[in-house]
Symmetry: C2
C-alpha cells in the first residue's frame, strides 16, 4: 500500500481509504490510486486488514461430510448469501466424530472467523467453552434444541421419525423395520419411528439394522435388506431408511429378489435427493427444504452481525413426507 501511495503521490492511509471508504477520497487521488493498483497488480493483504480491524469477513463451517449432498447443498445456499454480504466460507469435515470436531473448532477459531456454523447440537464440553469464549455468533443447523450455544435452525429428527410412523400406519402398514446409519440424528429418526410405530401397531418387535456412523451407501442398503430377510425373518411391511441412498439400495435388492415394491416391501427414504422422484418405483421420502435452511442459517448469522436485540434463538423449518409409489 505504501508503494501504491508513492506511485499515486499520496500516503499509505489514503490508499487504504480508497479501498474501504472510497467516498472519503477525492476523485483525483482515487484515479491515480486505481491506476497504480492496475499497473502493479496490487492485491491487498486481508490478513493484515483483519488483524487491524478485528474483522476477518470469514465464516467457518464444520460439517460431517462434504460429499453428502445434504450438507453440501446447505453450504451452497448458506455461502451464496454470505458471499453476497462479503463473507468467505472456510469448511472442514468432522467425519461424524466429536473429537475431530473439537480439534477443528480450535483450529478454526484461531483464524478469528466472524462467525461459525456447526452441524447438529451435540458438541463436547470443551468445544462449547471455546465457542462461548470466542464471543462470535454460532449457528447450529440441521437440528433443533431448546438450549443452543447461540442459535439453531433445523428440525426435530425425532418428530420426523414419529410423523413417518404415523403416516405409514395410516396408509395401512402394520409391520415395519428400520435401516439407519449410525450417526446421532439418523438414530433419533429411527427411534422416533420405532417408538411411535410400536405404539400404533401394538407390535414392539421392529427389526432394526444399524450401520456405522458415516454416509450410508447404496451397497449398505442392499446388505441391510438381505440381513433383514435372512437374519431377522422380515417378511414384509414398511422399511424406514435413514437416507435415500440406502432406500435406493433396498429398492435394488428387492428387485433382484423378485419382491414387489410396495406390495411386498414398502420403502420410505429420507432427504428427497434429486433422483428420488425417478427411481423405480419413485421413492416416498422425507423432504427438508435445504435451500431454505441454508438461507435461514445465513439470515440468523447476519442478524447477529447487526447486533439486533433478542433475535430468534431457535428456528424450526420443519419437514414434509412426500408420498410417491414406494410406500
Amino acid at each position: 500500500m505504501a508503494t501504491i501511495g508513492k506511485l499515486a503521490g499520496v500516503s499509505q492511509v489514503t490508499v487504504s481509504r480508497a479501498l474501504s471508504n472510497p467516498e472519503k477520497v477525492s476523485a483525483a487521488a482515487m484515479e491515480r490510486i486505481q491506476e497504480a493498483i492496475r499497473v502493479t497488480g496490487f492485491v491487498p493483504n486481508a490478513l493484515a486488514g483483519a488483524l487491524a480491524s478485528r474483522k476477518s469477513c470469514l465464516i467457518t463451517a464444520l460439517v460431517p461430510s462434504i460429499t453428502n449432498v445434504v450438507y453440501s447443498s446447505l453450504l451452497h445456499g448458506f455461502s451464496e448469501i454470505m458471499r453476497a454480504e462479503g463473507y468467505q466460507l472456510m469448511v472442514s469435515e468432522t467425519g461424524f466424530s466429536p473429537e475431530t470436531e473439537e480439534a477443528l473448532i480450535f483450529t478454526h477459531l484461531s483464524r478469528r472467523p466472524d462467525g461459525i456454523l456447526l452441524t447438529g447440537i451435540h458438541h463436547s464440553a470443551t468445544a462449547r467453552r471455546m465457542l462461548l469464549g470466542a464471543g462470535i455468533p454460532v449457528v447450529e443447523f440441521w437440528d433443533i434444541t431448546e438450549s443452543p450455544i447461540d442459535c439453531c435452525v433445523g428440525f426435530s429428527h425425532t418428530e420426523s421419525g414419529r410423523h413417518t410412523a404415523e403416516m405409514a400406519h395410516g396408509w395401512g402398514y402394520r409391520r415395519a423395520a428400520t435401516v439407519a446409519a449410525g450417526d446421532q440424528r439418523a438414530l433419533r429418526r429411527r427411534d422416533g419411528f420405532r417408538n411411535r410405530f410400536a405404539e400404533l401397531s401394538g407390535h414392539a418387535d421392529i427389526p432394526a439394522i444399524t450401520g456405522e456412523a458415516g454416509p450410508a451407501s447404496l451397497q449398505s442398503g442392499r446388505a441391510a435388506l438381505a440381513a433383514l430377510i435372512e437374519d431377522h425373518g422380515f417378511s414384509g411391511g414398511v422399511i424406514q431408511c435413514s437416507s435415500d441412498q440406502s432406500a435406493l439400495g433396498i429398492l435394488t435388492e428387492a428387485r433382484i429378489r423378485g419382491l414387489r415394491v410396495p406390495q411386498d416391501v414398502a420403502v420410505i427414504g429420507f432427504g428427497d435427493q434429486d433422483y428420488a422422484a425417478f427411481t423405480d418405483p419413485p421413492l416416498t421420502t422425507v423432504k427438508v427444504d435445504r435451500d431454505r435452511l441454508g438461507r435461514a442459517a445465513a439470515r440468523a448469522m447476519l442478524t447477529r452481525f447487526r447486533g439486533e436485540s433478542d433475535p430468534d434463538r431457535v428456528t424450526d423449518i420443519g419437514f414434509e413426507l412426500l408420498r410417491r409409489a414406494s410406500a
Copy 2:
C-alpha cells in the same frame, strides 16, 4: 500471549515458542505455560501468526460446484492429505463462470494462501497474471494441458470421448447421439466422441443435445431423450452422456417410453457415481479415480512447498470405461 506469559512467569516470546517449537522450551516453563493456556482457554491468533511468518497454512480452492460429487469428493481427498500436513482449506464455487472465478481468485489471493487449487485449465488472462504474481504453487486439476500455470493433474477429456466412441463402435453400435451439459469439459468429451464416432461409423449426423453450463440433472436427461426422439428423429443407437445424472434420466425416460436398454437405446454415462452400478440396467460409464486425483493434486502441492527442483508439471491420471449392461 503476553497474558499467558505473565501467568506462567515467562515472556510472550517463550509462549510463542512453546506453541511452535516446544523442544526449545524447558520442561518446567512448558508445564506452567500449558496450565495457563488451559485455565484461560487461550486460542492463538493465526492471523497475526500468518502475517508475521508469511505462512498462512491456508490452501484455497475454486470449484464449479460443491454439490456435485465429482468435485466434492476430489476436495475431500485433497483436504484430507493437506490437513494431515497442517493445512486448512477454503473453498468457493465459481458456478462454471470465468468472471466469477476471476473475482474469487482476487479475493482468495488477498487472504495470502500458501497454495491455490483450481478446476480446469481455462482461466482469464487477468486471473493468470494475478496467479503468477502471487508467487505461490497453483495446481489445476480435472484436466490437463501442456502449458499449465504451474502444474496440472487430470486427464484428457477429448481423449475420454474418443475412447468411448471407439469402444462403442467396437461393441457394434453404428448410430449414436450425445447429451452434454454446456461446460467446457463436457463439450470436449462430446466433441471427442462425435468426431471419432463419425470417423469410425461413416455417419456424420450425430444428434447432439447441449444443455446449459451447470450441473446436469436427472430431469434434463429425461428431457434430452424426449428431444432426441421427437425433434431429432433419433431411432436407436448409443447415447453418450456427459454425466451419470443425465444418463440416469435417459434410463428413466426410456423405461417410461417402453424402450429396451440397451437393445433400443444404449446409454453411456460419465463419472461412475456410486449408484451407477445399481441402476436398472447397471450403467456403462467412464470412471475417473477421483480419490487418486485428489491425492495426486495434494502431492503436487506438497512437492512444491518443499521446493523440490523440477517437479512434474503435468500428471495424467487417465480414465477407464466400465462396461455394464446399459451399453
